[in-house]
Amino acid sequence: MTAAVRRRAGLRELGLGLALPFVLVVIWEAAGRAGVVPQGILPAPSLVAAAWRDWAFADPGLGLNPYLGTWGETVLFSARRVFTGFVCAILIGVPMGIMIGWNRMVAGAVDPLIQSLRPIPITAWLPFAIAVFGIRDAGAVFLIALGAFFPIVVNATAGARDVPRNLIRAARMMGANERQLLLRVVLPAALPNIFTGMRLGLGIAWTAVIVAEIVAVKSGLGYVLWDAYYVGRMDVVIADMVSIGIAGFLSDRVLVAVQLRVLHWKQAVRA
């Protein structure tokens, strides 16, 4: 297939994918204008767009209306928490998973604990997080890190455990010591699994940040979501929901771009 043909096929697919959402938005708008749905519950897309524009760009003035010109900082609050928690989850989950997958002693000592904590939903940790960290950033970051940690550690464990035996043997016969074996063989061999875990973890991180901000802190997309609902600003609620979706989607794309780069050897044959 030539590049031009492929591009045209891609465009056609994109057009097909956009058709259904477009139709739904048009029906939603029409229903709103016709007065079929009460605008206080489900405001029409045009009203949501206007509220969003004000939320993003309007002059905050004296700051009495929290939905004027505060969108950017709100997104940043949430994104920063996700980033911090996610990085913590990677820094703890990857080495721990590698060690569990590599060393039977470590597996015996640590894996049962991880497996017994894993079924506890992230929402069930909320009171604990607030009790320990209070109404502060640390509680939200803890929750995010915890949520992202489990898929990362589990996948890193599987990756480290399934390194082909002859790759380990080859490295040993070439003189690699234990540390080199872990860093130069086990880690790179486990990276495809680790990226799978990170993508799952990032999805959970966005869930965790919204839950944490609804309950435990007073800023970010989750806080605004609940606060706007309380004051009856459903237009802002919907704009907030879409913002969360876009943020989650974009952060996943960034992670995939990093993955394609780091695991370039996996794509080599196709290229």
Binding site: P164, N166, R169, A171, R172, M174, G175, N177, V185, W265
Partner: protein, 265 residues
């Protein structure tokens, strides 16, 4: 002079869930320095187990293996191994696969890169330094596997059916390449195969193993002139050796079948 490889009373039993498997029973053998030895034997007779003990991958149940007088306790770059499936690191370029060993020992990169070029040239892979293993054919991967052993400058080469998975034509090319490389690099080689022609073509000595549990059945000196070429395959001396070895192997195969019958009853 100390033997390059000395195996004394080697026995290996695998304790599995389905009971114990005696892979090797009382192996005694020695390889002289610079000897190219091929081991022939039916599948499952313990050839790989023997090689893995010498490599330090498996511990013997009884007896010992020593290399130049030192008892084997762990794998090391003095005993280079070529595996049947090349077992290259798929995330490293051909060059970085070859330099892996010396890099682990802390040798500087410019030095090891120059060495890699030399050995890749020797195995006919210059120009492929920056390819990834998955972009190479099976024969080329094995050549990388050989180059990463050559760069270690080991005292012993251990090769476990390195050409077993290749098609007949590639295998023949690889055999010629290996004799050519060996004529330059020398070193002691233990080469496992189940291909009789391959064994005669490559070896100074051919060891025929019995069916499991593996023992040494016989040792046959191959006194054919070197350097060897494919023309040798039609030499009458080659044919005489092949007939002799084939007879021994057939006897072993019949014994193995009888053994299996008895075990099943």
């Amino acid at each position: 002079m100390t033997d390059a490889v000395a195996i004394r009373g080697l026995r290996k039993v695998f304790e599995g869930r389905a009971g114990a498997v005696e892979a090797l029973a009382a192996i005694d053998m020695t390889l002289a320095e610079g000897e190219f030895a091929c081991i022939l034997g039916p599948s499952g007779c313990g050839k790989s187990t023997l090689l893995n003990v010498i490599a330090g991958f498996e511990a013997p149940t009884e007896g010992s293996a020593s290399v130049f007088g030192a008892p084997v306790s762990a794998p090391g770059p003095d005993r280079a191994v070529v595996f049947q499936e090349a077992s290259l690191f798929p995330w490293l370029s051909v060059r970085d696969n070859v330099t892996f060993g010396p890099r682990m020992l802390g040798r500087p990169k410019d030095e090891t890169d120059a060495l890699a070029r030399r050995f890749l040239d020797l195995v006919g892979l210059s120009g492929f330094e920056h390819h990834l293993p998955d972009q190479l054919s099976g024969g080329m991967k094995q050549r990388v596997g050989i180059a990463r052993c050559l760069i270690l400058n080991p005292r012993v080469y251990l090769m476990d059916e390195p050409f077993g998975a290749l098609d007949a034509q590639t295998r023949m090319q690889m055999q010629e390449l290996l004799t050519h490389v060996w004529d330059q690099a020398r070193g002691t080689v233990l080469f496992i195969t189940h291909d009789i022609d391959e064994a005669i073509f490559l070896a100074d000595t051919v060891y025929v193993m019995t069916a499991r549990p593996g023992r040494m059945r016989s040792r046959i000196a191959i006194e054919l002139p070197r350097p060897r070429s494919i023309d040798l395959l039609t030499d009458p001396r080659f044919n005489a050796l092949r007939a002799d070895i084939l007879r021994q192997i057939r006897e072993e195969a019949i014994k193995a079948m009888a053994e299996e019958e008895r075990a099943r009853r």
